[in-house]
């Protein structure tokens, strides 16, 4: 009986790993002369499959990776199932299916034929991502507590490859036990790098901090559109709170339609802002917004120059 592995799911990193593991296993068991074929199901029929899996003169073992199994034709499905139940034991078949309803018959047929099933479903929730981190660290030979894993996910975001790399790096640098302190030492400032954080530093007039936060924000995949929106929102708040005159945040909050903390914060910023500077800053942000939305060549540059201008206006 041949070795059949069925990878179900569309989490790219997990799929790639599962396929690689299956291929490695086949290579390890098959000696030096192994032919590996990597094909798309949509471009494959049962005759091609027969050709790929038939014994050849020199290469004793053969590995066939069939990707996109949801597009497999009826004949191909039958051929694969037959191969799985009574084929040449020198053949390894790896079938990749993205999950979902389309082409479900392949999955059921192969599962019924005794294929080894590897789940690679998309990791959607933050909890699952934390679990992924815990597993990755264990894999790399260390251990990490839940809080530290949560911090790491919050800092890095949703990219599994990056999370995986970070886990390997942390274990390699620090050693087996990883705590929240270690994560903070490596990734401080990253989690808070939202468009809002950039805008807050900018209206405080702190160019260096604003730009640093902006770079972190871009690195974590924050869209430049959010930066210009946050800048505009902060400048608007300053103007409206300034126009409302003196008063305690709690009494102003109602008429302005903002929560008191927002009013209090804006009152703090207000000291740095003169009306003319505010006008210049808003106009710069509007220009940048156009640049970010396609009028300019480089959205990141437009956002960056808006941040610099706004911070400069605050200091004026």
């Amino acid at each position: 009986m041949p070795r059949v592995t069925l990878v179900v799911g569309d989490e790219e990193l997990l799929v790639a790993r599962a396929v690689q593991r299956a291929v490695q296993a086949a290579l390890a068991g098959g000696g030096p002369d192994v032919a590996v074929h990597d094909v798309m199901a949509a471009e494959l029929d049962h005759i091609d499959l027969a050709e790929l899996t038939s014994p050849s003169l020199f290469a004793e073992a053969r590995v066939v990776v069939v990707r996109g199994a949801q597009d497999a034709g009826k004949d191909l499905v039958t051929a694969m199932t037959t191969l799985a139940t009574d084929g040449d034991p020198d053949v390894s078949l790896v079938v990749v299916h993205p999950g979902g309803a389309k082409g479900k018959a392949v999955v059921e047929a192969l599962r019924g034929a005794g294929a080894k099933v590897v789940e690679a479903a998309k990791i959607k929730s933050t909890r699952d991502r934390e679990q992924f981190v815990v597993d990755e660290v264990r894999e790399a030979g260390g251990s990490i507590d839940r809080d530290a894993a949560a911090d790491l996910v919050a800092s890095i975001g949703t990219d599994l490859r990056e999370l995986s790399t970070a886990c390997v790096q942390l274990v390699a640098d620090i050693g087996p036990r990883i705590t929240t302190d270690h994560v903070a030492a490596y990734y401080r400032g990253r989690a808070e790098s939202t468009g809002f954080a950039v805008a807050d530093r900018a209206v405080e007039g702190d160019v260096a901090a604003a730009l640093e936060t902006l770079r972190w924000a871009f690195a974590t995949g924050v869209d430049p559109v959010l930066v210009s929106a946050a800048l505009a929102s902060n400048l608007r708040t300053i103007a409206l709170v300034g126009a409302a005159g003196r008063g305690s945040p709690d009494t102003l909050a109602g008429p302005l339609g903002m929560p008191p903390w927002k009013v209090r914060r804006a009152q703090g910023w207000l000291k740095r802002w003169k009306p003319d500077a505010l006008a210049d800053a808003v106009r710069a942000v509007a220009d940048a917004d156009a640049g970010i939305k396609g009028a300019g060549d480089d959205a990141a540059f437009a956002a960056e120059s808006a941040v610099i201008t706004v911070a400069g206006c605050a200091a004026r």
């Binding site: 210009s228 929106a229 505009a232 608007r236 103007a239 409206l240 300034g242 126009a243 409302a244 009306p275 003319d276 505010l278 006008a279 808003v282 106009r283 942000v285 509007a286 220009d287 917004d289 156009a290 939305k293 396609g294 009028a295």
Partner: protein, 387 residues
């Protein structure tokens, strides 16, 4: 009384179209027919009557009397109910290639009433480039009785390949006097008609709304208060918020009823009669989300259009200021606000007025380029404040 009466202040254009209608009639009768063209391009500024001209021409082609304005053919052509007149009005932000291919197929049908198969495309400028290319083939080699009437603000809005295969009809901004006379003919008071024609700057539809609808007048007055509200920086932000909110409300009023009617019509046609325990029809959620996507696109456009009208009024206000500052001998657009205009003219320089006009026009461009509307208007208000 004929169908071309609806076309205000465009005598030259009417003459051209009437000649073509005569030629079309003789072509149907089988006696020659030189002078009729199968693809027309109507261009002219918004409100000059591009789509009215196209509809009237369609009616005149379908009518046995060349557009009497009274018969069934004329009436149904003008309202868009005629079986052989298809009116395409892209409601969303753009019109795609798949829809155009369908359109081309329908345009190739033989006319059911035996005269012409007319396809009117309002806002041909909203067609994507691929969509225009899909249309090109049938414009180049039209079906025997097919007529295409395209409308666009200017010839530059269409691909050169499409443009060169159409006969151009250029509409002008209708003279204020003609618009006013027409509104009076519709029953408006003389003074109101004159005011509306001027304030709408020759945009016939807008003039009609201003003459009839008290709410439209009120809204215009609110927009034109903005120049007095930008005296302080804080005021700029509030005025901007008001302007954008008003545009949102106006748009919401226009599309709200259409949205819910469309959604329930779609549910009904898919067979979703509701009730507990009934399975939802297959594919319904996909169809509904597709409809929602198109409605959202239309909402964005309606809101932008409302904002654009307000900005046009505002630009005309500063134009009036400049007129007074330079002592030009032309009529003010916003004559009813002459005192406000005069005050601003006395307290500012022509140079700053020009800069302000630039700011308003820049804002229109920014909104068009997808800048957040509130931010764009704020930047404009602050520019107006700084002068």
């Amino acid at each position: 009384m004929g169908v071309f009466d609806e076309l205000i202040g465009q005598r030259e254009v009417v003459a051209v179209l009437e000649t073509a209608v005569l030629a079309a009639q003789s072509s149907i009768a089988g006696t020659g027919g030189a002078g009729m063209t199968h693809a027309w391009l109507f261009t002219g500024p918004p409100g000059s009557g591009r789509s009215v001209a196209a509809r009237a021409f369609a009616a005149a082609l379908q009518c046995a009397d060349g557009g009497c304005g009274l018969c069934h053919e004329c009436h149904t052509s003008m309202t868009g109910a005629h079986a052989d007149v298809e009116i395409v009005a892209p409601a969303g932000l753009s019109y795609g290639v798949a829809e155009t291919r369908d359109l081309v197929n329908r345009a190739a049908l033989a006319p059911t009433r035996g005269r012409w198969q007319v396809t009117i495309v309002e806002d041909a400028d909203r067609f994507t480039e691929q969509a225009l290319n899909a249309l090109l083939k049938s414009i180049e080699e039209p079906p025997p009785r097919g007529v295409f009437l395209l409308c666009a603000p200017s010839t530059e809005d269409l691909l050169p390949t499409v443009r060169s295969r159409c006969r151009h009809v250029t509409l002008r901004i209708p003279p204020y006097a003609d618009v006013a006379a027409h509104l009076e003919g519709e029953g408006a008071d003389g003074a109101v008609a004159a005011f509306a024609a001027r304030a709408a700057q020759g945009h016939v539809g807008r003039a009609r709304r201003l003459a009839r609808d008290a709410e439209a007048q009120q809204r215009r007055r609110e927009v034109l208060e903005l120049p007095t509200q930008v005296a302080t920086v804080g005021g700029c932000f509030m005025a901007a918020a008001n302007l954008v909110d008003a545009a949102k409300e106006e748009a919401a009023r226009i599309i709200e009823s259409a949205d819910s009617a469309e959604t329930s019509a779609l549910r009904e046609s898919l067979g979703d009669i509701g009730g507990r325990g009934r399975a939802k029809p297959r594919g319904m959620s996909a169809a509904l989300s597709d409809l929602e996507r198109r409605q959202k696109s239309r909402a964005t456009r309606t809101q932008r259009d409302a904002l654009d009208r307000a900005l046009t009024d505002l630009a005309a206000f500063y134009r009036d200021v400049l007129v007074l500052q330079l002592g030009s001998d032309v009529v003010l657009v916003h004559g009813d606000l002459e005192r406000t205009v005069q005050r601003l003219a006395n307290t500012s320089s022509p140079e700053s007025t020009l800069r302000r006009i630039e700011a308003v026009l820049g804002c229109r461009e920014a909104v068009d380029a997808n800048v957040a509307p509130l931010l764009a208007v704020e930047a404009m208000a602050l520019a107006l404040h700084q002068g």
